[in-house]
Symmetry: C2
């Protein structure tokens, strides 16, 4: 099936791992966290327990670095049976602050794509996570001039996208979403009949992974490209 | 000077301590925090040091409960000279989770005001803090039916309001802000020539307090009411 992009007026870009590196920093921090707790458990076990803790806390803390840090602290206390000391907890908080203050590494091709699209489309940044973090990253990235505005969603499910399109008065046929996460940036759009282009990043957070079955169901309704620059040839 | 409200088309409501109780819970948690650290310092000293820590971390963590919890943990480590144990840190994290999960107490008169205004004005929720927390509170409050949408700002300074009005395509003469904080909900609006109504709450966070001088400078450009219901007589 050929996908028609000619009606597109508004393009939503995911931010983390679509415009700039993000997941890599979480992996690095998890590795540091495991080193800090190496007296208590293997890295593999620590990774698993931290992920379980993040999932347990997701409804309470939502997405973003601060909730991740709180889950690391809670995991550290559990994994050490309460033996972890204050100095190690300080180190965990410092890992979080480092993540927040990291410079932004814009991904290859992003600036070229945005500068080509900015005059023809209304471009918005659509992200979940922490508003302050995302505003700061956009600022540091030097990309803010390309965006009409930022919209931070508490989650990226079908209902969140529907509400957003309604609130921004965007017709579903006129909207295209671009992002690295099949689960958050592609499938919900495909399921509500909107267009999406998938630009995979080399690392995907466990929580963002999807079953092949879910992907097959919407087969042919979205495109996958190897590099973000390819979207210029598609639309 | 008489303030003309006849052009108003859009009304922005602050959320915490304007629509529902919030600051009181922070005060309660601070009190619990001080009890937890009572072996190390007086409550007065603990309050002061926690506030200093919050201000030190504000640029990094922004507003909201998660940043507050991280600042409590960091303060607890400092105040105890690193002697605080993992069990006490767990208790601090539990205090934070309790705050996040608290039921929402809608303030007197709020529902009456919103239901009277909803057919005549576009009503938006304008808050700083954490998007997930604010969406959850709006849901629990039963007030979501009155709001056209929620806008979470990373801060509430003049520039944030200017960008917002531009993005929502709202003329400055057509906008009225209602809120409990002179610093965040009233003065920035008065300074950009927009209208604001101040509805004080009995408790104000130290960070939200303003100097008399700043208030005098915009004297006569906004109203203060004792109860939110009075805005129905003004507009």
């Amino acid at each position: 099936m050929e996908i028609a992009y000619k009606d597109i007026k508004v393009i939503g870009f995911d931010a983390d791992d679509t415009l700039w590196v993000n997941e890599t920093y979480f992996r690095d921090t998890e590795h540091e966290f495991a080193k800090l707790l190496s007296a208590y458990e293997t890295e593999n076990k620590i990774d698993q327990e931290l992920f379980k803790m993040e999932m347990k806390n997701l409804d309470i803390y939502g997405y973003g670095i601060k909730g991740f840090v709180l889950s690391m602290i809670e995991s550290a206390i559990d994994l050490s049976n309460g033996r972890i000391n204050a100095a190690s907890i300080s180190e965990i908080m410092d890992l979080g602050k480092e993540m927040i203050m990291k410079p932004v590494e814009v991904l290859d091709g992003v600036e070229e794509v945005l500068s080509s699209l900015v005059d023809k489309y209304r471009i918005i940044l659509l992200t979940k996570g922490d508003l302050l973090d995302q505003e700061r990253k956009l600022e540091k990235s030097g990309l803010s001039k390309y965006f009409h505005h930022i919209e931070v969603l508490s989650d990226k499910k079908e209902s969140n996208y529907k509400n957003l399109l309604e609130h921004l008065e965007i017709n579903i046929d006129e909207f295209l979403m671009v992002g690295n996460s099949l689960k958050s940036d592609v499938l919900p759009l495909a399921n509500i009949g909107a267009k999406a282009i998938h630009v995979p990043f080399h690392t995907t957070w466990e929580h963002e992974k999807v079953h092949d079955k879910e992907v097959k169901e919407v087969n042919g309704t979205y495109k996958t490209v190897g590099n973000i620059k390819e979207i210029l040839e598609l639309i």
